[in-house]
Amino acid sequence: MDIEHANLTAVTRMMDARPILKGVATARDVIPGMKDNLFLHAGPPITWQRMSGPMRGAVIGAMMLEGMAKTEAEAIALAEKGAVEFAPNHEHGAVGPMAGVTSPSMKVYIVENVTHGNKAYCNFNEGYGKVLRMGAFSDEVITKLRWINDTFAPIVGEAIEASGEGLDIRALLAEALHMGDEGHNRNKAGSLLFLKWLAPFIAKVAKDNNVESEVLKFICDNALSVLNPVMAACKAMTDAAHGIEGSTLVSTMARNGTDFGIRVSGLGDRWFTAPAEVPQGLWFPGFTAADANPDIGDSAITETAGIGGFAMATAPAIVTFVGSTPREAVNATLEMYEITVAEHKHFTMPVLDFRGTPTGIDIRKVIEKSILPRINTGVAHRLPGIGQVGAGLVRPPMAIFEEALIAYAEKYGLEN
């Protein structure tokens, strides 16, 4: 077994994967293993008992959306008696930002990696303010979710269908990285590119001008519109790199608000977890670090795929957002080259003379150099029902990389 070769195979598959946004469907109908009482969530596996506030809030809201509960109390009672099952999105080919709760009736994007044939799914982005993914579940949250599910998503789905070919998300990302996005916290350019591509098809399929206007306005108003298809695309790319015998490449990084978990390409579906840390960030007015929930969301799939925090050099507009200077943003990307095995073939950064983004985290390099991956992230309130309090930078706990390395040594007979 040759580790370098295995890693090269894995990272090449990751970069060669070509994720195409193919359509929209109901989770129940397309997500493998999805069933009526199964709620998928962000991060590694977790029980209701250990769930953080925002995760619980999102579960409560999703039960309301599904019509299983009318009130918070009813939802909690159901959850406590085990009426629903929980499983990580990642174990079902899916991802979701922040709480990432995906319930059976929710509409999801379908992204297909046309190089290797695997598919990935992600729910729809709700925009800003009080949103389910941040743990809010008030009436306005549920009303908006219903509108997305019943009106917005079907039109977007029809528009994608009308396009015939679908949307090449890898190409969209490559372009957005040249327009100041890093693909995780900043998706302004990507969302505009998404809108530009969708608009003619939406115009074609919409039967009502008012609805068409509302749909277009919702995309226009939400600079994170493209984040969810992007995350599904990253999931499709990283899944292609998973399961390579002997590889030390990280194929998943995800957080559930309680634990941070990673999976490693050559170590099967085992999660390595440790308590998630609270991001260092900028706080929305009225909030402080004391309000922040520990790190949450599947969106670290972007960093796993070589963008997000790893591509900070190309997104100077948000450096203050992560408490820094443009020079430090470049340094942040340079630091990530220390722990990755390749420079991305398709994702390049003009400021670094079009060098590829650092891609494919190698657990060996993380341990050897004591450098942890940087993740750009949003921050949710630690209590259910409140929502986003800020955004910032976080790193995974070192312990999970150490555990993974030891597990690798055990599996591949490298113990003392």
Binding site: K369, E402, L405
Partner: protein
């Protein structure tokens, strides 16, 4: 009653310069009486104890733990001071955070691909690993770190030798490459004198003196203090000599070391001799065989070494030396010296043992040179025929040539004999006409159809001696002997004809890497980096940390994974 409190940070490595600044920063806070910021090595814990700063908590710190201790007038001041640690560390970092500092050698090489040199000054237990990585990346290593095991040193140097790279060190303090000082070095002008130094301060003393005498240094190559031990076999010193011998800018070479192992010294001097350039040797404490032996000049001290080197530069003969064709005997042919004079034999031994090995005698200088059977020569042999073993019932060989004539025949018949060296001592009391007996025997040897054995004689006598020295010399020459009128002349000639430069091992070190503008990667002491930049060299500082944060279990797994590929 002052308050003392300590804080331990596991796995946080900082180099000592950073910690000293932190310590100074803490001391500067109002109310702080004393402070310590050190890595928790046993030596540092002892230092803290001596300063009365070793708390019970601090005693538990390990070598990879950062220990911060504050002593102050009040509890509040202590807490306040400990609270300042991060900002004190950060203040310093922000000053240097502008340019990205690579965290590994691998990345540093990408950043400065033209770097030929890697300076390593990390703690000893990590140094061999960093040096190995540098060699694998094809870089020469200046290894300042000490506490590197002898096994590691040998392994590193063998690897380097096979790749045509140099490992200067471990524990190498000084080098000057193409005008740029590495580690501790004086600012000396570029010039025609090359230095190979197994001693850092020795190299500084010599190079500084050379500069002050108005000359300059081409390259000063350090080897580390253990290079001339027999286990290491002077691998670096030999490579360094080769480089300087090839370098057209280097006209004279100075070789400095504390007392080397005898077997190592012989090989190194043979190599120095074979370089053809004048080499000034200062082996401190090693008996100089002569003031001068062929192109080797022996000095009695560091400043004298510099003075001889500078003086040699003025010598027109340097050119002759460099261009001289130097035919040698094959390595399986040996010297056989048959002496009538004990002291002449001894002086010849002393001179030739510097470059010939193994060398045996019935009157040896060291025990390892004892000839087991005085009647039979082996390898290079010098026999004192005046020794009492031979004298039972005989006249002294200065009077009676019989024994020497028999031994001459015996040596001539030995297929291993290449050169026979004889002394011919004239004067009152000696044989009235030694040439009458020796010349025919010599002629028989030199005119043999089968083999070419050379016969060299040193004739000691004056024109007033009864034997007529001119006629003696003439007849010896006529018999085919090579004749010298002094012992030194004969010894130098033999040294030149018989010494064998050691077989070159590994790849030769490329001269290009010395003569390009110096570019280097520094791993460790930041002052070395600053010094390189200050001298106008291109340099990259690696923000180094112990592998796996010093966690030995994880580091062991990583090492195995590296082997596995």
């Amino acid at each position: 009653m002052p308050f003392i409190k300590s804080e331990t940070r596991s796995g946080a490595y900082y180099d000592s310069a950073v910690l000293m600044q932190l310590q100074r920063g803490l001391l500067g806070l109002p109310g702080v009486l004393d402070s310590g910021a050190v890595m928790g090595t046993p030596a540092n814990l002892e230092l803290l104890e001596q300063s009365g700063l070793l708390t019970d908590d601090a005693k538990k710190a390990g070598v990879n733990d950062l220990l911060i201790v504050v002593k102050a007038e009040s509890d509040g001041v202590v807490a306040e001071a400990l609270g300042q640690v991060d900002s004190l560390l950060a203040r310093r970092r922000s000053a240097v955070a502008q340019e990205f500092r690579p965290k590994s050698l691998e990345t540093a090489v990408q950043q400065l691909p033209e770097a030929n040199w890697v300076l390593v000054s990390v703690p000893g237990r990590f140094a061999a690993g960093v040096a190995r990585e540098a060699l694998n990346l094809g870089k020469h290593v200046f290894l300042y770190s000490d506490n590197v095991s002898l096994e590691d040193e040998i392994a590193l140097k063998k690897t380097a030798q096979a790749k045509g790279l140099l490992v200067m060190g471990p524990d190498c303090g000084t080098a000057i490459i193409n005008g740029v000082g590495l580690g501790f070095a004086n600012r000396v002008r570029r010039g025609p004198i090359g230095v190979v130094g197994a001693s850092g301060t020795g190299t500084q003393a010599v190079t500084a003196r050379i500069h002050n005498l108005g000359s300059g240094v081409s390259h000063a190559i350090g080897t580390g203090g253990r290079d001339l031990k027999s286990e290491v076999g002077a691998i670096t010193a030999h490579q360094a000599l080769d480089v300087l011998a090839c370098d057209p800018e280097t006209k004279v070479i100075v070789l400095i070391s504390k007392p080397p192992a005898a077997n190592v010294a012989t090989k190194l001097l043979a190599a120095a001799q074979a370089s053809g350039k004048p080499v000034v040797v200062d082996f401190i404490g090693y008996p100089p065989p002569a003031r001068k032996l062929d192109n080797l000049h022996f000095s009695a001290g560091l400043s004298e070494a510099a003075e001889i080197a500078v003086k040699l530069l003025e010598d027109w003969r340097i050119r002759e030396f460099s261009n001289a064709k130097r035919p040698r005997f094959a390595s399986d042919l040996y010297l056989r010296g048959l002496f009538s004079g004990g002291t002449l034999a001894y002086e010849t031994m002393l001179g030739l043992q510097a470059v010939l090995s193994p060398l045996y005698s019935n009157s040896p200088i060291s025990d390892s040179q004892i000839l087991p059977d005085p009647l039979k020569s082996q390898a290079h042999t010098i026999v004192d025929l005046g020794d009492e073993v031979f004298m039972v019932g005989r006249l002294h060989p200065m009077i009676d040539n019989d024994l020497r004539l028999r031994r001459l025949k015996q040596e001539a018949a030995d297929p291993e004999t290449g050169l026979i060296l004889l002394d011919v001592v004239l004067g009152e009391g000696a044989h009235p006409d030694p040439a009458s007996e020796l010349a025919p025997a010599i002629a028989e040897i030199t005119r043999s159809e089968n083999r070419r054995i050379e016969v060299v004689t040193m004739v000691i006598g004056t024109d007033s001696d009864p034997q007529n020295v001119e006629s003696q010399v003439e007849r010896l020459k006529a018999a085919g002997a090579i004749v010298f009128r002094t012992a030194t002349g004969a010894i130098e000639y033999v040294a030149r004809r018989m010494s064998q430069p050691p077989d070159s091992v590994g790849l030769p070190v490329s001269l290009d890497s010395f003569n390009q503008p110096l570019a280097a990667i520094n791993v460790g002491l930041e002052s070395f980096y600053e010094s390189l930049v200050g001298q106008g060299a291109q340099a990259v500082q690696v923000d180094w940390k112990p592998p796996a944060g010093g966690n030995e279990k994880l580091a062991a797994i990583l090492a195995k994974m590296k082997k596995k590929k």
